[in-house]
């Protein structure tokens, strides 16, 4: 029996999914191309796909695209890792012990609404205009959210897993290390993957304000010279790096946590 594709939450084969996804991608490029080729929009506002492609090749050839992307990747990675290294243990103890949560939660809930962007001037004052300023802006933007989300991952560990360990004679530290940490690892990995995306947002902010290299800086410079096509290249490259890392991390997740996603 042939099933309709339009059953609510109905099945869809992998092949058909990929086909539709590819079609969608091509469709948007085609719309973009059509709008610019028919000169419906001034190329100054929206350059065509051809112009953007030519610009990216030129940028790639003179060698600065790779170095700009490289320095940006470095800053994102450094800021993100600094956040993660600090947020992981803190999120774990906040999720494990209620008094620690009571101590940190109000502070974190307040801090996560602080506008990271507004911190840029003070950050420059504190750590100067070197690499540390960019890393610190990323840290401010991601750390507080990350701690809260990681601690929530820990609180979602099923209670029977914890209580079974207690009745088997496990001590507090053993429950944290052998049950809470292990059980919440897949969720924590996902949280890190999601916050990595935010790190890119704050990177561009930091580079727009205080940098003389990187993709964000290149975008700002292109704006000054009204090189809209270069702005588009910068945006698309950041998008592609983000998409690539996300897919890679999803792949790693499936490989190292094959048991995740199924409750037991």
């Amino acid at each position: 029996m042939k099933h309709s594709l339009w059953v609510v939450r109905g099945p869809l084969s992998r092949r058909l999914y990929l086909l539709i996804a590819t079609l969608s991608f091509c469709l948007w490029i085609a719309v973009w191309w059509a709008v610019t080729a028919l000169e419906l929009v001034d190329p100054l506002f929206l350059p065509g796909p051809g112009a953007v492609l030519r610009r990216s090749l030129g940028w790639l050839m003179d060698g600065s695209l790779l170095s700009d992307a490289g320095i940006s990747v470095f800053r994102v990675t450094a800021g993100f890792l600094l956040s993660a290294v600090m947020a992981l243990p803190l999120g774990l103890v906040i999720g494990a012990y209620r008094p620690v949560r009571a101590f940190f939660e109000p502070l974190l809930e307040f801090a996560r609404y602080l506008p990271a962007v507004a911190f840029v001037p003070v950050v420059l004052l504190w750590v100067g205009i070197g690499e540390s300023s960019k890393i610190m802006v990323i840290w401010i933007g991601t750390f507080f959210q990350m701690v809260i989300m990681l601690s929530e991952d820990v609180t979602r560990v099923p209670l029977p897993q914890i209580e079974a360990a207690r009745t088997l004679g496990a001590g507090g530290g053993e429950i944290v290390a052998r049950v809470l940490l292990r059980s919440s690892m897949p969720a924590m990995f996902d949280t890190l993957r999601i916050t990595l995306g935010w790190a890119w947002t704050y990177l561009v902010v930091a580079e727009l304000v205080a940098a003389n290299s990187g993709l964000g800086y290149a975008i700002l410079k292109a704006q000054r010279f009204l090189q809209t096509d270069r702005i588009f290249v910068g945006i698309i490259v950041i998008g592609l790096i983000g998409l690539g890392t996300d897919q890679l991390l999803r792949f790693i997740h499936r490989r190292i946590f094959p048991w995740a996603g199924a409750r037991s």
Binding site: P160, A164, T167, A170, S264
Partner: protein, 301 residues
Amino acid sequence: MGGGEVVSEKLAARALGKRFDAGGRTVEALADVSFDVAAGEFVAIVGASGCGKSTLLRIIAGLESATTGEVLVDGRGVVGPDRDRAMVFQDYSLYPWLTVLDNIRFSLNLRVNRSAKSGGAPGVAVPSIAGSGVAGQGGEERALLLLELMGLEKVRNAHPHQLSGGMRQRVAIARALLAKPQLLLMDEPFGALDAQTREVMHDLILHILALEQRTILFVTHDVEEAVYLADRVIVLAPGPGHVDSIWRITLPPALERTQDLKLSPQFLAIESDILGRIRATSGLQSDLEALRRLTAREMIL
């Protein structure tokens, strides 16, 4: 078993009471619950939902504290959970990242059991209760034995999410039995299983327990299950939870019980008596009255 003058009971619940705050008002979950469980005995606790049977079991496990009264194991008061009172939960208690065998072995790597392994450990965590605890080589061998007893050999390297609900509960029971607990506490362990799997589990547990000689406290809402498995059945009544009645089950010994027994007049008589007590102590009777009044109103169109 034994006379009245010696302390022969493995477990004694003494005037247990439990009150807790629920949104500003105090709820009394248990009041003055007392009973004994003899060594090697299988006692089931049944009762209408909300009678506090799970709360009672969790207090005995040490996962919750009683407001009044005390729990004695071998005459000693217990505070907090320990490996002498292992618990089997209804579901979601296995460790999904561990294989079946490693789930069963989980407690071997805990400090309490590791330190008992080598005599040179600096005087910590000597097993507090004689007879419970397992360590070192003995523990590894026991894990393999339980794997075999529970019929889990073929899935020893599988992960919990690859198993059926019944197989998962076998793992949970093996894991709880590993350290030879003084008391095995089971909180509706078969409540999430289908009827056929439950029957298989009933016969399995009767045989395993005949071999293991553990003392069991078993909470269930299924009276048939309670009568089939237990030596005694305690009916807990709600509002606040208290012992309504205690039934001694005089059926053939565990190993001679078969599923056919559930249809024998003797079995059905005990089952219906206990069900009658549960109905009498719950609000269901008055619901039925209300239903009769409603249907008598000629509402059929």
